[in-house]
Symmetry: C2
């Protein structure tokens, strides 16, 4: 008395086709060593019967699972949703399912999710979301990733993960930070406040490094600017904006390190009757779909999120290379209506 029978099994197909299950298996899994005629017949029978192989049995027997795991901070966040979209696209093209895990932006949860995915028997894991600068977190991640790869699993990450040594798609965060800061500086802004997420994230460090380079070109230093750290979300942007406007009412520009925060900043400035870009210019980072439709349209740095998702899975689909591969995702400055020359 079986509890959950999908009904058809390989034997059924084999019987109907008048072959052994071994032959049936080979025919259906596209393995070599079956005459094309037989293979064709088996496939026809399978299709006709509506046979679908049991993944669990297959994975158990072969030791390889077709599933791919995707770890994101928060799937409701457009940045990750777009990355996921790219991953799903490639996965679909390869007939693979994608298991998605939330981490809620907690690096320890990230490690736990990695372990969970490995336990869930996926063969491939894509980690989206910034690497962490905390040595302890890095070590845990590394241990987990290596354990997974040791069992034949493949891993690719999106973002810079120091020391991890796996294939990676790295967005041009430094260049992006530099170009967006350069844009503000070229407009004459000097009293610039930065709305940032946790500085323990590699992404933040990189974007800030780019900002610092641009500042350096103008004889300025990041240390002289207010850098407010808050949650890397819309609400975090609101918090940061409030702190900035309270403590530094004389700023002429707010450089937010992602679009979510920028939206929060715009929201608070709007509430307070501060005109953008009349009184204060605001910039974002990422260029999520809606950025161009905000009030005002957001000047930001475009990152090809969906493509990054695609590339990451494509890397992970490749066999492991001796040296970790690295793809750079280019940034592009999108100048829109939220920035203007500083007022005389």
């Amino acid at each position: 008395m079986r509890k959950h029978t999908a009904g058809l099994r390989l034997v059924d197909v084999a019987e109907h086709a008048g072959v052994s299950i071994a032959t049936a298996s080979r025919a259906l899994s596209g393995a070599t060593g079956v005459s094309e005629a037989l293979a064709e017949r088996v496939r026809a029978v399978a299709t006709e019967l509506g046979y679908v192989a049991n993944v669990h049995a297959r994975s158990l027997a072969s030791g390889a699972s077709p599933a791919v795991g995707l770890v994101v901070h928060e799937i409701g966040d457009p940045y990750f949703a777009e990355i996921a979209s790219g991953v799903l696209e490639v996965a679909g093209a390869h007939g693979r399912m994608v298991q998605i895990c939330h981490t809620g932006r907690d690096p320890h949860a990230e490690v736990a999710q990695l372990r969970a995915l490995a336990g869930a028997g996926v063969g491939i894991i894509v980690v989206a979301g910034s690497g962490h600068l905390d040595r302890d977190v890095q070590a845990q991640m590394k241990a987990q990733v290596q354990a997974f790869e040791a069992t034949g699993g493949r891993v690719a990450v999106i973002g810079r993960h120091p020391q991890l040594g796996v294939d990676a798609v790295v967005p041009a965060n430094v260049a992006g930070g530099r170009s967006i800061a350069e844009h503000l500086l070229s407009l004459g802004h000097r009293r610039i406040a930065v709305a940032a997420g946790s500085r323990r994230l590699a992404t933040m460090a990189d974007r800030l490094a780019g900002v610092e380079q641009a500042l350096g070109d103008h004889g300025l230093r990041l240390a002289d600017l207010p850098v407010v750290e808050a949650a890397f979300t819309l609400d975090g942007g609101k918090d940061a904006a409030r702190q900035i406007m309270d403590a530094h009412p004389d700023v002429t520009a707010v450089l937010a390190l992602n679009d979510d925060m920028a939206v929060g900043v715009l929201s608070v400035l709007g509430e307070r009757g501060v005109s953008v870009p009349g009184d204060v210019s605001v910039t974002g980072f990422d260029d999520v779909t809606v950025a161009g439709h905000l009030s005002p349209a957001l000047t930001t740095v475009r990152l090809p999120m969906k493509q990054m998702g695609r590339q990451a899975l494509e890397l992970a689909l490749l066999p492991r290379a001796a040296r970790a591969r690295r793809r750079t995702a280019e940034q592009r400055l999108m100048v829109r209506a939220s920035t203007a020359p500083v007022r005389g």
Copy 2:
């Protein structure tokens, strides 16, 4: 010579704990019939060793998989991303993984994905995205769903799926359509154009039905209004807006049937120098996160997407009931800056 060994197996734990694998299994799966003392010892050993059960083996043996499948039209779309977020939240709380599938808004792909998920051995499927009015699609969906449930699987849908007979979370689309239309009518608008997605979707039919009710209250009929059908996306909204403004330049309001389309409408109106809400009022539907931050802030109908995702999985987690359960997700009119009284 094993190819993909996660290393630890149940035997290892059993040996370390000095019990049989049967006992170890019972202890770890929380089954009854083991003395609490032994169970505790086994669990301790398992934790210490870092043992994680092989899902494939477990699913194969027990015939039940802990994975839940989620079918969405497009994960990059904020509406579905938020629903997914709710589903992931509940899944996480129950220690389950979520496999997400795209359908690209193709109803046939939806059926295929259902089959794929069933084949992938998930035990639970949540289908997000509107039901279809096409009888043929309905029949296929139903056949697939019943086959899945016959094998012990559980299904819950988000949205109205006529005739499907499974647990459902149904957003108040009719009431929402009615309230948003009523809002425009109360502002004096009469020459209203509707930007809609495919009318073969139940969601569209319901929202339009609500609009029609409101019109009826004012002695008007939907048939007298231009209803432009386009893709249910931002670009579709652009297409619809162009058609509307070209064919009916005298409209005073555009009622878009989701926020994505409304954003596209705003975009086109902006390009053409049509002031919103000065010349034309615009409304959306869903209230995705950014709706309140658009230019101008969008008047729309709020649907609790994340909660809908949560509820759907909660329903699916319950044992099948004799009669399909139904939860209604309430709508709420959000009046913002994109609507104003019609000009005298």
